[in-house]
C-alpha cells in the first residue's frame, strides 16, 4: 500500500515537474509506477530524468531533429536577422518621411516577406520535429545572441535584429499545435519563399535557395492532406 507522505512532499513535486519532459500518456504511467513502487524521491527523480534522456536520445537517431535545428533553424536565423534589419531600416526611414510612397511600399513589402518567411520557417521547424523544438530554438538563439553582442548600435536598436522572432514563434506555435494549412495558403507561402533567392541579391542567392525547402515542405504537406486550416488532435 502506498504511503501518502511520500507522494505529497517536495520531492514528489520535483518528480512531477521532471515528468513534464515526458509525453502526456507516458507521464501518467511513469508517475503511477513511481507512486506504486514508492522507492523514494531521489530514486524516482533519477528514474524520470533517465527515461527523459533516453527518449531524447532516441529522437536524435532520426533525420528530423537534425534537419529542423541545424538544417533550418540555424541558417534561417542568420538570413532572417538580415531581413529584420532591412525591414527595421525601412520602417525607420518611413517614420522620417511618412508621405513617401516608395518608402511605404518598401517597408510594407519587406515586412510582408519577413513575416511570411519567418512564419513558414517557424512552422516547418516545429512540424518537422516537434519533440526537439528546444534544440531548434537553441540553434536559432545562438547566432542571435552572438550578433546581438556584436551589434554596434545602442539601446533598443539591437532589437531590430530580432523582429523575425515574432512571426517565427507564431509559426512554431502553429506547427506545434499541428495546425493544418489549406492548399491555397501553402501555395501562397511557397510563392513568397521563392522570392527569397531573388531578393537576396547577388551574394546570398544560394543561401536563399537553400531556404526554399520550408515552403516546399508546407506545399507537400498540404497536398498530402488537403484541408482548410483546422486543428488535428
Amino acid at each position: 500500500m502506498k504511503r501518502e507522505g511520500v507522494v505529497s512532499g517536495a520531492g514528489w513535486r520535483c518528480i512531477k515537474t521532471a515528468a513534464g519532459l515526458l509525453a502526456p500518456l507516458e507521464r501518467e504511467v511513469v508517475l503511477g509506477d513511481l507512486a506504486e513502487a514508492d522507492r523514494g524521491a531521489l530514486r524516482g527523480l533519477i528514474d524520470v530524468l533517465g527515461l527523459a534522456a533516453r527518449r531524447q536520445i532516441a529522437f536524435w537517431t532520426s533525420w528530423r531533429p537534425w534537419a529542423a535545428s541545424l538544417g533550418l533553424a540555424l541558417p534561417a536565423s542568420l538570413y532572417l536577422m538580415f531581413w529584420s534589419v532591412a525591414a527595421g531600416d525601412a520602417a525607420g526611414s518611413l517614420v522620417g518621411e511618412p508621405s513617401n510612397l516608395r518608402l511605404l511600399w518598401l517597408c510594407l513589402s519587406r515586412l510582408l516577406l519577413l513575416s511570411c518567411w519567418s512564419w513558414t520557417t517557424g512552422y516547418t521547424v516545429s512540424a518537422v520535429s516537434r519533440r526537439t523544438l528546444w534544440a531548434s530554438l537553441l540553434a536559432c538563439c545562438v547566432p542571435c545572441l552572438d550578433c546581438l553582442s556584436k551589434w554596434p548600435g545602442h539601446g533598443l536598436s539591437g532589437l531590430e535584429l530580432l523582429i523575425f522572432l515574432v512571426p517565427g514563434l507564431g509559426g512554431a506555435w502553429c506547427g506545434r499545435q499541428q495546425l493544418r494549412l489549406g492548399l491555397s495558403c501553402a501555395i501562397f507561402l511557397m510563392a513568397i519563399a521563392m522570392l527569397a533567392p531573388i531578393m537576396a541579391g547577388t551574394g546570398g542567392w544560394m543561401y536563399g535557395c537553400w531556404l526554399l525547402w520550408p515552403g516546399g515542405y508546407l506545399l507537400t504537406k498540404a497536398i498530402r492532406r488537403p484541408a482548410l486550416i483546422s486543428k488535428s488532435h
Binding site: 500500500m1 502506498k2 503511477g32 509506477d33 527515461l51 533516453r54
Partner: protein, 84 residues
C-alpha cells in the same frame, strides 16, 4: 515487473531501461501493451499492462534454447555429457 527483474537479476533496473526495452519488444510484435483502469494505489493513474504475444513466447524459447546450447561445455554451462 521491475521488482521481479531486480530480484531475479540481483541488480537494479532503471525505469528508462525497462520502458525502452518494452517499446522495442512491442515494435517487434513480441509483447502487447494496453492501459488499465486508474487505481487508487497509483494515485488515480492508469497502468501499462504488458502481455507476451505468441511470437514473443516463441522468440523467448528460441533465445533460451540458444543460450543453453551455446553454454554447453563452457566454464559456466553444463558438461557436454550432461547436456546430451
Amino acid at each position: 515487473m521491475r521488482e521481479v527483474i531486480e530480484t531475479a537479476a540481483g541488480r537494479t533496473c532503471s525505469l528508462g531501461a525497462l520502458y525502452t526495452t518494452l517499446d522495442r519488444l512491442e515494435a517487434k510484435g513480441l509483447v502487447e501493451t494496453q492501459m488499465s483502469a486508474p487505481t487508487q494505489e497509483r494515485g488515480g493513474r492508469a497502468k501499462r499492462m504488458v502481455r507476451v504475444t505468441g511470437n514473443g513466447t516463441l522468440a523467448a524459447r528460441e533465445f533460451y534454447e540458444s543460450v543453453v546450447r551455446i553454454s554447453v561445455g563452457t566454464a559456466w554451462g553444463r558438461a557436454p555429457r550432461d547436456a546430451a
